[in-house]
């Protein structure tokens, strides 16, 4: 039997596996080039540093979301998880005078529990995670507003702000934290049996169960880790903003989802690439920053982001169909 090399579109002579892996890097470079030409202030050290530091929390959320997507699920509640964890941490710091370390630990624990709740519901009810997390999102939203009374909590202790303001060699702590998380997650994803099982779960859940793996446990862990990482991102975000209210989280889930899919994570599960995912976040970040500097406005960004998400999903679908055609 003659077979073509995998992922090769014979008609157009394109290796889609290679393209899928590196397309996002190519798009990122093209955007950098475009905005360098359009705006003088884009390619400055100050602006590039801003792009990195303003998006550390997005990278952390996108990684959590990606793990869920790769496992075949989705978590639409991360936005309101951030709101709930954020306002409670803000209240602990501002209203109740908790020590900073205690507020951070309780905030992280709360985020982890919210993720665990999502995981338990998804595995017990066994229904579409999209619906489950949409429902929990509304619940988290309600609790967030009930607890905070829609108030804003600002002016945190210096030691809390140090998360994003403390610097070593001119680089802020949250950048180091993000790099650390990316490295740890990449090791877990590529080098451990836990990582391979998450990918297998997204590829064929029933086959993994029949292979003797406790798929419920893996799935619950995935949502729990997502909740934990969302809480870490929340700490970074509210430390940077030095302020929090219930409306600050929503929308993050869409950006994280878009970044993940642009970064090569399959919407159907079973596929992902950590470095490309980080590049996916920066595609959106550069796009937002560049369009702002070019004076194209905020609203146009929504249009472009939506179009990018559609293009990424279409490419994902095209690649999967091509694999099937190659098989036939």
């Amino acid at each position: 039997m003659t077979q073509q090399p995998e992922n090769v579109d014979a008609k157009h002579g394109v290796n889609l596996g290679f393209l899928r892996k590196y397309a996002v890097v190519f798009v990122l470079l093209m955007l950098v080039l475009l905005f360098s030409l359009v705006s003088d202030s884009f390619m400055t050290l100050r602006n590039l540093t801003n792009i990195v530091t303003q998006n550390t929390y997005f990278i952390i959320v996108a990684i959590g979301m990606s793990f869920v997507l790769i496992s075949g699920g989705i978590d639409l509640s991360v936005g309101y998880q951030m709101s709930l964890v954020g306002v409670l941490t803000g209240m602990m710091l501002v209203l109740w005078d908790f020590p900073v370390w205690a507020a951070i630990l309780i905030g992280l624990a709360l985020g982890t529990v919210l993720g665990l709740v999502n995981g338990l519901i998804v595995t017990r009810i066994r229904t579409f995670p999209l619906i489950v997390t949409l429902a929990t999102s509304v619940i988290f939203q309600g609790i967030s507003y009930l607890v905070s009374q829609a108030k804003t909590f600002r002016s945190y202790p210096d030691s809390f702000e140090a998360i994003t303001k403390a610097r070593l060699f001119g680089v802020s702590f949250d950048v180091y934290l993000t790099i650390f998380i990316v490295v740890v997650v990449a090791i877990v994803y590529y080098k451990t049996k836990w990582g391979i099982r998450v990918v297998a779960l997204g590829g064929n859940e029933e086959a993994l169960r029949l292979a003797g793996v406790n798929t419920r446990l893996i799935k619950t862990l995935v949502y729990t880790v997502c909740g934990f990482l969302t809480a870490v991102a929340t700490m970074v975000m509210i430390s940077k903003a030095n302020s929090v209210q219930s409306s600050f989280g929503p929308g993050t889930e869409f950006t994280a989802l878009t970044a993940a899919i642009v970064g090569g994570v399959s919407f159907l599960g079973g596929e992902g690439n950590i470095p490309a995912l980080v590049a996916g976040v920066f595609v959106l970040a550069v796009l937002g920053n560049g369009m702002q500097l070019a004076g194209w406005g905020t609203y146009a960004q929504f249009v472009v982001r939506g179009a990018i998400l559609l293009a990424a999903v279409a490419f994902d679908e095209y690649q999967k169909n091509l694999k099937l055609r190659v098989k036939r």
Binding site: M1, Q3, E6, K191, T192, K193, W194, G195, I196, R197, V199, A200, G202, G203, N204, E206, A207, L208, R209, L210, A211, G212, V213, N214, G270, E271, K323, L324, V326, K327
Partner: protein
């Protein structure tokens, strides 16, 4: 021809297995004995309970009643892991492969070769090396353990499923319709592989609708009808008609004239 004498070298003994799905009684008080190194064909019409019986043994289903004895010891199989731990491997009809993985990962997922603290780190080098050795040993038509299974032919995918099943020295192998989707050449290769595995001492339960396959390689045939055991036939002493008659008419009427429906399907 029904064998009534109890075998003495049984690796599997199912005693009084019953399974219900709501109001449907899928298996009724079924006994089965599998000898060491034999190939036993499991046959029956659609809905006879073949796959259900095998899924009880593989841990995909839990029996409502009955006992399972493996290698002379009473066993409790509550999930696929229990079954795997007892040295039982099942190749499902849909093969249960991971299309997003290559051959080596398909073979080892769930039983990864690891090292380091808590056995957490994947030993990929060893996994790929052993997968390659396994492919070579099985003499299957797969070029590399790095080949993605999604792009493989039905026969190659079946071979990957076989490699996965025997990679961990399972001594009991259950195969559900392994030749159903294969062409003549690929089916012949697979049947040869199954025979060679049995010759190495692996006991094999082979579910199939292709009765000639069973007559070609099996030692005995186990017949189910409506979830009830009809009998076990010695392959060397029967014809295709004997098997078809028992499948269609059951044990009570098997002595009557052959069925009016002529057997024409050879898969």
């Amino acid at each position: 021809m029904t064998v009534d004498a109890a075998p003495t070298d049984n690796v599997v003994e199912l005693r009084g297995i019953s399974k219900r799905f709501g109001g449907i009684h899928a298996l009724k008080d079924v006994d089965l004995e599998l000898r060491r190194g034999e190939i036993m064909g499991i046959v029956g019409d659609n809905g006879a309970g073949k796959s259900t019986l095998m899924k009880v043994l593989s841990g995909a289903y839990v029996a409502d009643e009955g006992e399972i004895w493996i290698n002379g010891k009473k066993a409790r199989i509550r999930n696929p892991q229990d079954s795997t731990d007892l040295g039982i491997a099942m190749i499902y009809q849909d093969l249960a492969l991971f299309n997003n993985f290559d051959v080596a990962k398909n073979i080892y997922v769930g039983r990864e070769l690891t090292y380091g603290p808590f056995g957490l780190m994947l030993n990929k080098k060893r996994m790929y090396k052993q997968a390659e050795e396994l492919i070579t040993e099985l003499r299957v038509d797969i070029k590399s353990p790095k080949q993605n299974v999604m792009t493989m032919s039905g026969g190659q995918r079946q071979m990957v499923a076989c490699a996965r099943a025997i990679a961990f020295k399972s001594n009991i192998l259950i195969m559900d319709e392994p030749t159903a989707a294969l062409g003549v050449t690929e089916a012949n290769k697979l049947l040869g592989l199954i025979r060679s595995l049995a010759d190495k001492g692996i006991s094999i339960l082979l579910i199939t609708q292709r009765i000639p396959d069973i007559l070609a390689i099996a030692d005995r045939v186990f017949v189910l009808k409506g979830g009830v055991r009809q009998g076990v036939l010695e392959v060397g002493k029967i014809t295709l008609d004997d098997v078809v008659t028992m499948i269609v008419k059951g044990k009570d009427r098997a002595a009557e004239a052959p069925p009016e429906v002529e057997y024409k399907s050879f898969g």
